[in-house]
Amino acid sequence: MEQAEAKTLEVIRQDAFDPAKFLEELDAFPGVDKIKNCMQCGVCTASCPLSHEMKETPRKIIEMIRAGMRDEVLASDTMWYCASCYACTVRCPQGISMAEVMYALRTIALRTARNLSAAFYKTFSDTVRRYGRMHESDLMIRFALRTNPLSLLKMGPLGLRMLAKGKMSLSVPTPIRGAKEIGKLYEKVAELEGGA
């Protein structure tokens, strides 16, 4: 904690940051552009259903990106609160797709992040890779095992009711016929991204 605070003060030392490089890294994501055009109006923040929970508002994140504060941005909790509702995106006066910016930040952060959200997105991806489709029960059980096995107990009552309503199934999921294609797709993506 102390360290983090000390680091924020270093913002003053502009030579510690490389804004152009961070912007370039984000530019590689489709749909992420015009960040430099942001006029810091805060419409994104005020349109966001969850901005009041964030330590840094979405607008501030943009400014931090432009300042080149890569580590600080990736350590923030802002993007993990994005529910992809696109309210910011349709209202942004400069046409910045904040939702895409958040996807990009999460993707970069996920390469190293070790938090609850990271675990969820990884589990999700694994499930789809395995079956070609998403299976709630399988996803939830794996997610719990990955993060906090005890939470399985807490989920119990709701899970049972879901089972009762036929909204969840405990049967072993069967992969789609094209599961092999999905596997290949994952491999090709890994190859292309590794090569990039």
């Binding site: 006029m39 109006c41 994104c44 923040t45 005020a46 508002t57 006066p93």
Partner: protein, 651 residues
């Protein structure tokens, strides 16, 4: 056979051209072209010493053609034409190569720019070789000016021209002149009331002997050209005899039909026979035939019965007026952005979300509440939010800044505090107080009690479903926190937009629009009143958003432009018309229906087509279509253009 002696003059334009294009290489290249006897470069060819170079060479070296490689001919063609003429060379023997706007400014790479400049110079030299002398012609100018739009810009222009002793027709679509300014309450930064400063001018317009005021009228058709426009105006039937009516207002009192008053921005009512506001000029009512019971059912006629001077004329018809004008000023104003286009602001959904002009009417002593700032239920607000940039500076709506909203907002904040005890929250992105005494005004208001300025764009207006309070959502960007502000009234300072019929008007007057939809000036900085159509000028917010001081300035400026035309008494018309070479014409008559100006007729006796040069504008469409090549567009003939094509392709 040796060609004419050509001189080439390459302009550096400081570093504008020389910073990109290799001047030495270009000059030397030009010198090598056939028929070029002298090739020079100079820092500023448009300066006196630059022009003197050309003049001296014409006299001393006997130049027969001049090529200037510099900026766009739209900038300095007249300058260099005059220089040639001064030195005794026919001005139509001068050709320009545009190596600034269309070369150095648009090219990244210096070498490529130099190569392109060579091609353009080659093209110009090739054309110059085939140029021929032409003589300008002059035609007399009608001394009257037409002004379209009776807002403050049109009023200002009309008064200036009338006071200079020239005749003006002022055409206004609404029943009264005054425009949007007449709706305002106080005006920034001095807070004098709009009516107090505008009404005297409106009255002067009505009384000035040089001004013919046509209200409730519209321009239908514009023909002709500078000095000689022929305009058709429809004067809509007011349904009263204006000479008899004394403006007593009895008819309006007794009329049983009530409809929302456009002038009150939907907040107040008017009758079916009405003057839009008390200070209207002329102070004579009109009957709104769409809502009048008599026109709908054939019954009622109450107004006719109560009118003391018996001025009602139900059978009056529209009047068509055709008049000649030397110059035209278009001052058709703006339309406020409709905030309901963005439902997030709640306009049209919540009663107490209003736009700027509505607030002006609320605050105006002659408005629907008699100048009291009240909520829809008649109570006084306890908190008011003012939002800047509603529709402005927003690529979803209008990308430009509307320029007046910051000052209007500061004014509104002050007026709310002056008239109520409400807290005021002003939500701004940037505070743009750029005019004379504007920053001082802001500094005064910012210190007033219970006015809070928050730096952030108002993103959304919600309603608490339980309390009915309006909730304004904004990020206080200086604090970096989300704020939800409960208020009773929200004022949306909506963008200044082009009028919805701007395209139609532009076409009617032969002018263009810029990307933002406003009318396009000839030069953004140096010719803000001129348009691409000679003799048609623009003024006020139809050209771009502007405040009252700037609008008045441009109105007066447009008056000066119009006076320049009418005082000159004559204008030069281009000699670059089309001509028919009788020996080649086969009499096929293909050209006749092609001409947009009906300038081509058929000479039955000779069996050939004939161009009326007074009507021809030189577009060259006929020349492009003539199967036998008999029609020739002077100054743009086939030989000249072919030579240009060879030139641009050679490099």
């Amino acid at each position: 056979m040796p060609g004419p002696k050509i001189g080439v003059y390459v302009c550096h334009c400081g570093s504008n051209i020389a910073g990109k294009v290799d001047m030495d290489a270009l000059r030397e290249f030009a010198a090598e072209l056939p028929d070029v006897v002298v090739s020079r470069d100079y820092k500023y060819m448009c300066s006196d010493p630059g022009q003197d170079l050309i003049k001296a060479d014409i006299k001393e070296k006997g130049l027969e053609r001049v090529v200037v490689a510099s900026c766009s001919p739209r900038m300095h063609e007249p300058t260099f034409k005059r220089a040639c003429q001064d030195a005794g060379l026919n001005p139509y023997l001068m050709e320009m190569a545009n190596i600034r706007e269309q070369c150095s400014w648009v090219t990244e790479d210096g070498e490529a720019a130099t190569q392109k400049a060579k091609a353009l110079v080659h093209s110009a030299v090739n054309k110059a070789r085939h140029l021929e002398p032409l003589e300008d012609k002059t035609v007399p100018v009608d001394p009257k000016t037409l002004i379209v739009g009776g807002g403050i810009a049109g009023i200002e222009a009309a008064l200036k021209i009338a006071e200079a002793g020239k005749e003006v027709y002022l055409v206004e679509r609404e029943p009264s002149i005054g425009g949007n300014m007449a709706k305002l309450d106080k005006t920034f930064p001095t807070l004098d009331c709009a009516a107090c400063i505008l009404t005297p001018k409106m009255v002067s317009v009505a009384q000035h002997p040089n001004i013919t005021l046509l209200t409730y009228s519209e321009v239908e058709k514009v023909e002709g050209y500078i000095g000689n426009f022929e305009v058709t105006i429809r004067k809509r039937a007011r349904s009263i005899d204006e000479k008899l009516c004394n403006g007593c207002g009895t008819c309006q009192e007794k009329c049983p039909i009530k409809v929302p008053n456009e002038f009150e921005e939907g907040l107040g009512m008017r009758k079916a026979i009405y003057t839009p506001f008390p200070q209207a000029v002329p102070n004579k009512p009109v009957i709104d035939r769409e809502n009048c019971t008599y026109y709908k059912t054939g019954k009622c006629k109450i107004c006719e019965r109560v009118c003391p001077p018996k001025a009602i004329r139900f059978d009056q018809e529209d009047e068509i007026i055709t008049e000649k004008f030397g110059a035209i000023i278009v001052a058709t104003g703006y339309q406020l952005f409709d905030p309901s286009v963005g439902p997030q602001w709640g306009y049209g959904r919540y009663d107490n979300v209003i736009h700027g002009l509505q607030f002006e009417r609320l605050s105006n002593a002659s408005g629907p509440t008699g100048g009291k700032i009240l909520l829809k239920d008649g109570s006084e607000p306890e908190a008011v939010a003012i939002l800047h940039c509603v529709g402005s500076r927003d690529t979803n709506y209008a990308e430009y800044c509307s320029r007046i909203c910051c000052m209007t907002s500061v004014k509104f904040a002050h007026l709310v505090r002056e008239k109520t005890n409400a807290k005021v929250y002003d939500l701004y992105m940037d505070m743009r107080t750029f005019g004379k005494q504007y920053e001082e005004f802001y500094n005064r208001v910012v210190a007033e009690r219970d006015i809070y300025f928050i730096r952030g764009k108002g993103a959304e207006v919600m309603q608490d479903p339980e309390t009915g309070k309006l909730l304004v959502r904004v990020e206080d960007t200086l604090l970096g926190v989300f704020r939800e502000i409960p208020v009773d009234m929200v004022i949306l300072n909506a963008a200044i937009c082009p009028r919805p019929d701007a395209q139609e008007v532009a076409q009617k007057f032969g002018i263009q629009r810029s990307a933002d939809g406003f009318f396009l000036e000839y030069h953004l900085k140096l010719e803000p009143m001129k348009t691409a159509n000679d003799g048609v000028f623009i003024a006020g917010t139809c050209q771009s958003p502007k405040d009252i001081p700037d609008t008045v300035g441009q109105g007066a400026g447009a008056a000066a432009e119009a006076l320049k035309v009418v005082f000159a008494g004559q204008v030069t018309v281009t000699p670059t018309t089309a001509e028919v070479r009788d020996t080649l014409c086969s009499g096929c008559r293909i050209c006749i229906p092609l001409c947009p100006y009906n300038a081509i007729t058929f000479d039955e006796a000779k069996g050939v087509a004939q161009v009326n040069e007074a009507l021809c504008k030189g577009c060259g469409t006929c020349a492009a279509s003539c199967p036998s090549g008999a029609l020739r567009a002077k100054h743009f003939d086939n030989r000249q253009l072919y030579a240009q094509i060879e030139g641009v392709c050679a490099e």
